[in-house]
Structure formats: C-alpha cells, structure tokens
C-alpha cells in the first residue's frame, strides 16, 4: 500500500522546551493508524504540524509523496485532509447544519458568485446541504440540525465536529482524541462510526487517543511517542507487549 501521510524528523521547540524531537511516522492509505503516548509526549504538537497549524523548526511533511511545508492551513482541506480538535472547536453561535456546511467550505462556489446568489452558486449550495443532511443522518444528528451548537450536549458536539470534518470530503482525517470525555456508550458509537468511515468510504484515519481499549480494537497500526521522540511502532498486539511502551506508561503513572 502507498504512503498517504508521512513526516520525517519533525522538530518543534517552544522557547527552551522541545515538544517534538525528530519524530517520523508514515500513515498508509486506507488504514486506521493510532498515535499514542503519555501526556505531554508531543502528540498534539505533531498533529498540529501535520495539519499545518504549527510551523516545524525542522523536518518535512509529505501528503501522498508531495511536500506540504509551504501550504497554508486552510489549503490542507483542498488536499483532502480534515481534522478535529481535542478541545471542541465548534462555531458556537451557529446551527449544527451550518457547522457541517462550513466543513464543505472549499467545495462552495467562489465568493463573488456566492454573495450575489448566482444560480450556479445556489445549486452548489443545495447540493452541499443535502450532503450535510446525509452526513448528519449517518451520525444520528438529523434531529439536531437546527439547534445551536453551543446548546448541544458534549457527546453530540464531538459528533458534530466529526461531521464537519466529513463534510469536506476528506481522503484522510486526523482525529485528536475523538472519544475523550465520552461515556462508554458514546465511545462505542463513535468507534463504530470511525470504523465505518474507514471501511465504507475508504477514508484514511490518523487518531490520537488515550482510551487504550478503543485504540487497540480499532487501529491497524500504532505509533508510540514519548518525550517528543519515536518510542515504538507496530501492530496493536506487538505494542501491547512492548517493554519500552509499558515502562513509559507505567513510569509516568508511578
């Protein structure tokens, strides 16, 4: 299988703190890949580098073999990459439907056409709205379409985030702790949804997660980082028995 998203020797420093110290990873197309590590290991920083929210001090990011270091944050969606956030980042004052539609922003007509309600733009708009409704149905959000995002309970907000990412028609989706703060039922539901996305829509998934049971059951491949550096990588079963990983996690707990 071809490499979908790859990074090499990513280094990020904040003042004196080194958040990432030469991390590399390679996400294969069509796989669900997990990125795990103890708190403060630099997972979110790496995520931000991959989605161009953070400038790396050194290292390269490749999307389907093409370097993307020069692209702006908002261009990444055009290249088929969508992401969610660890702390929910919804448009609080807008409805669920609008939140999902924003995800499809790069598919909309050019600004001038949209503003003046040109027929083509309106047609595109309707098409996108339909798709947004479909996505909402898939995520069991259809009865919430007209509610303001800020009024939704936490679990639903998490799903709206996912829906927004899906509306962009991504080929690869980066999920930052998708089930953090969810109860067991919600976790299971989201886990199923992610698996379906991967299976039915063929979307490559890279996720950061602390819920080990979820990670182990859903991921095809795992990367473990600690102190901003690669610690281990492999199939979930291998990682479960990897000594370094156990030490890293236990060491932190003790």
């Amino acid at each position: 299988m071809a490499s979908h998203l790859k990074c090499e020797e990513i280094t990020v420093r904040f003042g004196g703190v080194v958040a990432c110290d030469g991390v590399s990873l390679d996400v294969e197309e069509g796989k669900i890949v997990g990125l795990i590590g103890p708190n403060g290991a630099g997972k979110t920083t790496l995520f931000n580098v991959l989605s161009r929210f953070q400038e790396a001090d050194a290292g390269e990011v490749y999307l389907r073999g093409q370097p993307v270091n020069k692209n702006s944050t908002s261009q990444m969606v055009n290249l088929g990459m969508a992401r969610t956030f660890q702390n929910i980042n919804l448009f609080a004052e807008q409805t669920t439907l609008d939140n999902i539609l924003i995800g499809a922003h790069h598919l909309c007509a050019p600004p001038l056409q949209s503003m003046l309600w040109m027929p083509q733009a309106r047609a595109v708009e309707r098409e996108l709205t339909d798709r947004a409704v479909e996505i909402a149905e898939m995520l069991n959000l259809e009865s919430e379409l007209d509610n303001l995002a800020k009024n939704l309970p936490y679990g639903l907000q998490k799903r709206v985030e996912l829906a927004r990412a899906l509306a962009a028609k991504p080929e690869i989706i980066l999920l930052d702790e998708p089930v953090a703060g969810c109860n067991e039922e919600e976790t299971e539901e989201l886990q199923n949804i992610i698996a379906r996305l991967n299976r039915e829509l063929g979307i490559t998934v890279l996720l950061v997660e602390h819920d080990m049971s979820m990670v182990m059951s859903i991921c095809d491949y795992l990367y473990v980082i600690n102190f901003g550096a690669n610690l281990a990588q492999g199939e979930p079963a291998d990682i479960q028995t990897n000594r370094d990983v156990i030490t890293a996690y236990l060491g932190e707990e003790v």
């Binding site: 904040f14 979110t44 995520f47 931000n48 929210f53 953070q54 956030f85 660890q86």
Partner: protein
C-alpha cells in the same frame, strides 16, 4: 533645539503616561477600554477649582480630597454601569464607557458651563534650565508626580496583598477566583485606581490646558494609543509608550510642522501594529489548539 523638543516631549508624555497606566490597569483586569478615563480627570479638575475657589482650600488639602472623590466616581461607575454587563463582550463594555463619557461630559457642561476656566494654581515661576533646554516648573512638577506615582504603583503591585491579588486576576481570573481572591473586590479596586490616576492626570494637566469639558479628549486618545503601543498589558510598556509618543509628537511638530503633530501618534501606532500586532511589550502567545 533638539534637547528642548525632547524635554517638552517627555513632559507631555508623562501626562499621557498617567492615562495610559489607567487604561492598562482597567483593561487587563476587566477587558474594558475605558473611554471615560479622561473625563474622570476632567471632573477632578473641575472639583479642584470648586474646592479651591468656593471652599478656599489649600492646594495640598484639595489634592487628596479630589483624589478621593475621583476614586469614588470610579467605584460608582463600576458598581452602577459596568457590573451588570461585566460578562458581555469587549465591544459592549467599550460602548458602555462611551455612555459614561457622554454623561460626565454633559454633566460637566451642565453644572459648570462650557466656558474654559483657568485653574487657580499654576506653577509659572521661571523656567528651569536643564542642559540648555528650558522647561517650565509646571511641566517639571508633572514629571515628578508621574514618576512618583509610577514608583508607588510598582511597590503596590510588587508587595501589597491587593496588588498581588490584582496581578493574579490579570493573569487568570478563574484561577484567582478559585484561589479565594475576591475578584469582584479587585475589579472595584481597579476602577478606584483608575479614578486615582485620573485625578492626578486632571489636576496636573489643568494649569497647562485650562479646564473645560473637552480638556481631556486629546489626552485620553493619546493615552489609549500609548497603552496599546506598550502592549496593553504592561504598565512599564504603557509608560515607555507614552514617553515615546510625547517625544515623537514634539519632534514631528518641531521639524515637520505642527499639522503633523496630532497624526504622529497614529502613524506610529499603525506602523507598529502592522509589524508587531501585540504592541511593543505584548507577548505573542503561541496558538492554543
């Protein structure tokens, strides 16, 4: 000539500094850009005239009285106007202080009339010669006061319980609340301090620009510019910003022509913000994702 312009600029800047400090203190504790800051000072100046002329008080008796009244005014404004809307967004708070500005402006015009009045106390003895540059005693006294207040504030924030609590509120109001700091009281104190600084600004400026409802408009805007110049969160930044603006303004007035004097501060701020959006001493926070 150069020395003269710089010295006059520093004198003007020290008056801006008092306002700029107040803008910073209020902003960082309450997110409010206080447009009424200047008018607190204007009211203080009118009260100064009242105390001296009507009640025949000595300058040094008048000063603490005016400061007290001005602090009371600040506290009153917080209690009546700002507290009910304390949770609103930035723009609402900003507009509310505009409302206070209108009220104070109207009240001053209504009570004391719109005539410009002379401030009964002036320091118009011989100007002092400093390395060949002349400076009036009034300006020199202002600079002294401003420096003294700066030092008092430094110690206040560094060593007193209230000062430390105020800094804590600045850094993180929620944590401060959890740690048992009475945030509401601190906010009240903040506005009291705004009144305190305004009283000095008003009384010190009154002999120079005379007293009228509009006397502080220019100073307020310059003080605001100076505060932003220094980064809006930093008191030393505000002071340095104010002095820089005072000097730059005077130099522009002296060498480019006085039409450019007013615009100088704004050209400076626009250029600065273009290249350093967080101000001179602001901290560029890394984006939290």
């Amino acid at each position: 000539m150069l020395g003269q312009q710089i010295l006059s600029g520093l004198a003007t800047g020290s008056v801006y500094a008092l306002t700029a400090i107040a803008v910073v203190v209020v902003f960082r504790n309450t997110r409010t850009i206080n447009l009424a800051q200047g008018d607190f000072g204007m009211i203080a100046a009118f009260l100064g005239i009242l105390f001296i002329k009507e009640f025949d008080l000595n300058y040094y008796v008048m000063l603490p009285l005016v400061v007290l009244c001005s602090m009371a005014l600040g506290v009153l404004v917080e209690r009546i106007v700002m507290r009910p809307i304390a949770d609103s967004d930035w723009l609402t708070l900003f507009t509310a202080t505009l409302g206070v500005y209108y009220i104070l402006h109207g009240a001053a015009g209504w009570i004391w009339g719109r005539d410009t009045k002379a401030f009964p106390v002036t320091f118009d003895a011989e100007p002092v010669d400093i390395f060949g540059a002349l400076i009036s005693q009034g300006h020199l006294i202002n600079m002294g006061w401003a420096a003294a207040i700066g030092i008092v504030l430094f110690f206040f924030f560094k060593y007193t319980k209230q000062g430390i609590a105020m800094r804590a509120v600045t850094d993180d109001p929620e944590t401060a609340l959890l740690m048992g700091i009475p945030v509401r009281f601190i906010v009240l104190l903040t506005w009291g301090m705004a009144g305190f600084l305004a009283a000095f600004a008003g009384v010190l400026l009154a002999p120079i620009v005379y007293v009228s409802p509009e006397m502080m408009d220019e100073v307020l805007i310059k003080g605001y510019v100076a505060a932003v110049f220094g980064g809006l969160y930093s008191i030393p930044g505000a002071i340095i910003g104010a002095l820089m603006i005072g000097v730059a303004e005077n130099l522009a007035g002296g060498y480019l022509g006085s039409h450019f004097k007013t615009a100088t501060a704004f050209v400076m701020i626009v250029v600065l913000l273009t290249f350093r959006p967080q101000g001179l001493f602001g901290i560029q926070k890394r984006r939290e994702i």
